[in-house]
Symmetry: C2
Amino acid sequence: MTQTADTASTQRLDRQLAFLAEAEKLKGVVRATPVMDDSRFENSAEHSWSLALWALVMADQAAPEVDPVRAIKMLLLHDIVEIDVGDVPIHSAGGKAHDSAEIAAAEDRAAERIFGLLPADMAEDFLATWREFEANETPTAIYAKSLDRAQPVMLNLQSGGGSWREYKVTWTQLEDRVGCKINRGIPGVWEAIKARIFPWFQDNRRV
Amino acid sequence: MTQTADTASTQRLDRQLAFLAEAEKLKGVVRATPVMDDSRFENSAEHSWSLALWALVMADQAAPEVDPVRAIKMLLLHDIVEIDVGDVPIHSAGGKAHDSAEIAAAEDRAAERIFGLLPADMAEDFLATWREFEANETPTAIYAKSLDRAQPVMLNLQSGGGSWREYKVTWTQLEDRVGCKINRGIPGVWEAIKARIFPWFQDNRRV
């Protein structure tokens, strides 16, 4: 019996370590947003750290129904599917690529494969957490998605325009693709962000 | 009264956003550990993401007294002081630089400055969390520190040696500087890691 328990415990740890080794690949997934000094593009691992930190700092801006700890978990996991699918920039293909059914299906397969490396109970839990985030229906998912839209906006401002330059984004496009989603989860934060970024769009004649 | 409340709320949000903007600098702090394909060095922001993920995945390996959510918070915050002080590699200066009193004092000043950007209640909370991690005395801090030692070891193995090559680390040095700390918080994980990395030290005649 002890030996069987030991074997099960070893196998569990094998799977945990295999998943963590696989997750290291996220550091090689490049996003459309440059880092603040514009020297290189951000990768999805460091972006995920930023978002977990946003969730920690902005918890008091969330609706009372939001579970802030679950939001952190969602944001630590949310981009891991990009190991297989890559990052799809919000403003690419005229804003149409990001939410396509084809990409959603590919990301779901990636989630099954990658979370499937974990012990079964953990795989099921992480997959459910990731799918809740993607569905964007529960208060916690809506809050987490808002943060996922807010951080790149503030980072673009820091780098002097970032992906707004690359994709020639107008103020209307930004409000449609990004602003309305930030507003859904953290309306007070969107007001504060708007006041900070609107001058950039005015200065660059994108209004 | 409403106007005063509004002003207080705006000032709070200003400070939250100022802290998050400052935290972006962590993506520019370079560590001694290369990423898995050995193409560049890891930065402290993506390292912090890895650690929060380790804390999520390894929670069932922690002692029962550990608060796994607090561990995630510690690990999201633990390296932010490096914005001012830089990363001090474990194996640099013959293993003596990392825990020097001088660096500890500089890091404490950095924590006061950077967390001090936040609203006062949050600044106090984050500073206390960071100091608990640094003191390495509570079960949660011991667990979090163990993860902070474990992830670079597994990443060095993935990249074919990483900072062990750079600093010509021997098996005895690794056990002294790293292994004993991993063993303190997650002994079962250290057993599993040891079995995986010992062959590298044998193959490279470092045993």
